[in-house]
Amino acid sequence: MAGLPVIEIKGLTTTFRIGGREVAAVRDLDLTIAAGETLALVGESGSGKSVTSLSIVGLLPKGIGRIASGRLMLRRKSGETVELQALDNETLRCIRGNDIGMVFQEPLTSLNPVYTIGEQIAEPIRIHLGKSRREAIADAVRLLVDVGIPDPQRRVRQYPHELSGGMRQRATIAMALACNPALLIADEPTTALDVTIQAQILDLLAKLQAERGMAMLFVTHNLGVVAEIADRVAVMYAGSIVEAGNVPSVFSHPRHPYTKGLMRSVPQLGEATALKEAGAPLQTIAGSVPSLIDLPPGCAFAPRCPYAIDACTTAFPDLVDTGKGHASRCIRWQEI
């Protein structure tokens, strides 16, 4: 069962400078992830899910993106709690790759082509844990075993281009886990992979997380992946969490029209034939995601929402508790 909170975010607003204006890419976001727990952040392009993860690790593009308000509290491996938004770069560097591990979408761009796999996994071990090169390489070999890379003694001396896409992603996972982080952030880690390889990586992440009791923030656009890996899910739309709750509860009873629409618009394997034979179109969400520069007043989803009423366009709705830790940012959630 989940332990103490590892990361607790309160009222995070992250803004970007676009054309001389300050635009909120994430607004007033709260989330908590406990040790041993996986939270999936799901949304489409521009929903703010990746900006949230970049805000946590302090990797927002310099001079363009900044945390405008909010508190991001991280309980470090030492047990000490720090506020990430208040730290200087020096301290953040000691936390990234150490207390927080990161895995990104494209393993080829997160690996350096001119260093061996072993050197890259060993680097955080030497820097953060102060081990010698020899010890760190020995650790790297053990980590390659943990992430299921066969023949680790040989692989540790190879360069990224000598590995397949799936193996590269395993190597970046080994790198992220090198210092035994308290929080693992996985940002679309399987999106660039084939479906049979995706299944392997999801399985691996779930296993490693259970073994190590890390908190995991899993960012994805794929609802199937959420159902597969997460304990809890937060659905983002236009910079805000519109619905959050336990995975079984959100998937069986979505309480926000956007979540509901999103689930319906994905054809289900094995069910699509019946739809086709009945001549039924796929359910869609009308229109497209609004631009952050020009968000509609009130609820940002209202212009696309089949449930929208006048009240939806007058005030930005609160995220309300609908019971059992399930929350919805919809004033008509009871009717959904």
Partner: protein, 322 residues
Amino acid sequence: MPEEPLLSVTHLTKHFAPVAFGRGPVVRAVEDVSFEVPRGKVVGLVGESGSGKTTIGRMAAQLIEPTSGSVRFDGVETTRLSARQLRQLHARVQYIFQDPFASLSPRMTIGEILTEGLEIQRVGTRAERAEKAVKALAAVDLPADAFSRYAHEFSGGQRQRIGIARALVLEPELIVADEPVSALDVSIQAQIINLLRDLQLRLGLTMLFIAHDLAVVEYVADTVIVLYLGRIMEIAPSRALYSSPRHPYTRALLSAVPSPDPARRGKRQILTGDIPSPADPPSGCVFRTRCPFALDACAGPVPALREVAPGHAKACIRDDLD
């Protein structure tokens, strides 16, 4: 006598010459692939990276030449056509590309993009071509004023509609749609799939639909072909393929798709190992290195595609798995 299929490919093979100054291995992208696309039907090609699905699509649209084998379109062999004959053929076969950002020129107006093909084919007067383009825009639910705008003014979903309009404007008989929705956001994908399906039914189009998303193919295709490392593993009517897959690879592939039903979590069959390189495919059955049911005999001759039910064939020597 049954009607001749619009497209029929037999023993289609494509080997890509080695890069790196002629050294290095030949990439065997497609090996001995045969199938037919009947008029008015949709055939889906599914497979993972390196399965050869895009290469087959490009050969079907005569965008690249096969190493060997035949592509017959409307009864005519297309692999030995003159440039002039090929140009005439291209008016009848159109391609929809995956990436709506890369496939539209940023320097041309939508009107120029839509009328370029008509101009090359010397169809009608300038005014008539413009009229056809506006009609194509209407068919994909875009406003007529899109005509004088540029691609960057449109969202991803709208750009893909423009890509579809470009394919439709020549009134083709065959459309090759190569991953037409995989670059789009989830909420937009369904809109585009509905549009393609609606156009296909309304215009009686024949379509070769390439995708890695198995559920999308299930919704769109009448017949589905499952590819692995350049070879056909299984071919079946859509309903049969999804309800009773017969090849171990198809089963594993369907099982690997994460289900949005949390109750089904962890009930997946996970294949071990990686997809081998098409530059060095395994002998015999190309899937045997990852197949949980492989026997010694699987390394022998390449398994033939055998019919197991009407219209349903698999390339697997094991019949004891059904």
